[in-house]
Symmetry: C2
Subunit: 349 residues, 2 copies
DNA sequence: TTGAAAGCGGTACCAC
DNA sequence: GTGGTACCGCTTTCAA
């Protein structure tokens, strides 16, 4: 073991290039390129191929992705953009999606990487930062900023596919849309059908969830409009116990008889606060969450939850691949989620 | 709106290059480079600078990061590698870390991206995949495969810093180590000090958590060894209700009086199952989780939880920056977490 | 103050 | 079957 010496060597010795491999194998760079890219069939003799592979092996040669994509004019990079300050808010559903999506992309020959978009920049600056990497595709997830202008920046700089994952797509982008309004509407419709009329809808205070909370609230309001005597109250709630206690008090004072809590995690928070405040669930207040996490089944009472199916990561990867191959396809929505409600104890009775 | 035409244009018109900007501004490529990189002071007249900037603006020019790093010989990319199949298991703590880490890196001039490492590849193949991107640094988090050989591959291909985040570092890598044994030891010591002697330790069945669950179990066993009459039983548990019910039954039958449940999420799962099985907490069984999520305070009884502080993302970013600037620094551990236990109702009495 | 040109690492056409 | 070489977009020395 001689770490120190290794380090010094590592910083002095430049990375082996294909030219180095060629020299070491006694062939030309062209030959190296053919062999190492499987273009050697009928061009390079088996003996030469073996020599080249051996040389590459011995030198520890690793191709330089940047040089390759510079020459070929297209990169294998797929950017999965998420708003950096909201990452913690997404939870296990999205994490699982990303993990499988990256794997699926790799099978199609792409490298998917997650890139956090800073919130303190304009959508255009953000798009320029992405465009510098010359990705083959950008998937802007969950409200990562995407405007018509930023789509233009990306496309002009050679990005072959721009997709919006979550919110409706910006003009020029393809969309994999999860209908947030429907989630609110389904939750509210269930509560109204159960006889509740004074609905509260949690609106997270956490910055950046507006693209979700707004439409969910709107969907609930729309559903309530068709029920005579129904009302909907917005309930701003931060993800802390203090805030939950305040909202619980407010729920009691204003005599609400049902709450759609944005998602399961806010629902758990609020359920505790309501119970601590002596509010019976579902007796006094019916409670509905969303996402249908395992969490929902673990709460007591078990939590009714609206589940919106995410698309299969493999399908999205295939779509991205298709769009990269043929970017002339007219932008449009390719997937629209359907919301389904899993009724449990927290909203019945 | 003419999306179709825009698309066709987008695929035909190549991305504007610095040469295009030069032509459009009527200057040389060199001048463009100086102006756009702030090297223009005392070299280029103000009038020319304005011309260049205007031209870049008009053409929608975005520099090509690959070409730049190819020429300059160093990239601004920092790879945050995580095992793809384990991403969902990490939870909000790590997500928040990554978000802030990326932001901090950006302030140092780097671009941090999350890269999922497929589990079905050898550590060396994985390292080669990373090396193709020629990152300035690689942070292998939470058991992304890192061996002495893969560190070598990275360093030889020009990666200036290789860090391990979580497990102890492989030879040649720097380490930001979170001591898993200590977590188990602290939990067990607390339970033993409270008079419990028949300890169970949850070992998640989910693949890929072994680097954490193993040491946590070992730490608990070590702590138990100094208490006469104390025993430790490993409790394999999958993250499902069925599995939890089975483990709960087993806990009751084998007369365990305390369980360290790996983390808060498994603790919640098991708490429910135990309560459903009529086991009193903390009366019959004391329960301890880890991570100290908000979740822990929301459970009833409130959950005792071992918290291990993560390093500040800003500090890690600064460390990465320093290592990139001076890669000759001898590898070593730069941070070692300290575990702290937050005692609540689930383990007292 | 500006421009010409070399070259980073790889690819692929064309000639031998 | 193999090698020479132009070129991808950008930076940077060296001359003008």
């Amino acid at each position: 073991m001689n770490d120190r010496a290794d380090n010094v060597r590592a910083q002095n010795a430049p990375a082996p290039t294909s030219a180095a491999v060629a020299r070491h194998a006694g062939v030309s760079r062209a030959t190296v390129s053919y062999v190492l890219n499987g273009q050697a069939a009928g061009k390079v003799s088996a003996a030469t191929q073996a020599k080249v592979k051996k040389a590459a092996q011995e030198l520890g040669y690793v191709p330089h992705a940047a040089a390759r994509s510079l020459r070929s004019g297209s990169s294998a990079l797929v950017l999965i953009a998420v708003p950096a300050d909201r990452v913690p808010a997404f939870g296990p559903l999205f994490s699982a999606f990303v993990a499988r999506f990256q794997t699926a992309l790799e099978r199609h020959g792409y490298t998917g990487v997650l890139h956090g978009a800073r919130a303190d920049r304009s959508p255009e600056d953000t798009a320029r930062a992405w465009a510098e990497l010359r990705p083959a595709a950008v998937l802007a997830a969950f409200g990562a900023p995407l405007t018509a202008a930023s789509v233009g920046i990306l496309r002009r700089s050679g990005t072959r596919a721009v997709l919006s994952f979550g919110p409706p797509p910006a003009p020029g982008a393809h969309g994999i849309t999860m209908d947030q309004e429907e989630i609110g509407a389904v939750a509210a419709a269930h509560l109204l059908a159960g006889g509740r009329r004074r609905l509260g809808v949690v609106v997270p205070r956490e910055h950046g969830l507006e693209p979700f909370s707004g439409p969910r609230l709107a969907g609930a309001e729309a559903a309530a409009r068709v029920f005579p005597g129904a009302s909907v109250t917005a309930l701003p709630l931060a993800h802390t116990e203090e805030s939950a206690a305040q909202v619980a008090a407010r729920v009691r004072e204003s005599g609400l008889d049902a709450v759609f809590a944005y998602n399961d995690e806010y629902a758990m928070l609020l359920m505790r606060a309501l119970q601590d405040a002596g509010v019976g669930i579902p007796g006094d207040v019916a409670l509905v969450g969303a996402d249908d996490l395992l969490l929902a089944r673990l709460l007591r009472p078990r939590l009714t939850s609206v589940r919106t199916r995410l698309p299969e990561p493999e399908e999205v990867a295939a779509l991205v691949d298709r769009l990269i191959s043929d970017p002339s396809v007219t932008p449009g929505e390719r997937f629209r989620s359907a919301a389904h409600i899993e009724v449990r104890e927290s909203s019945t009775g």
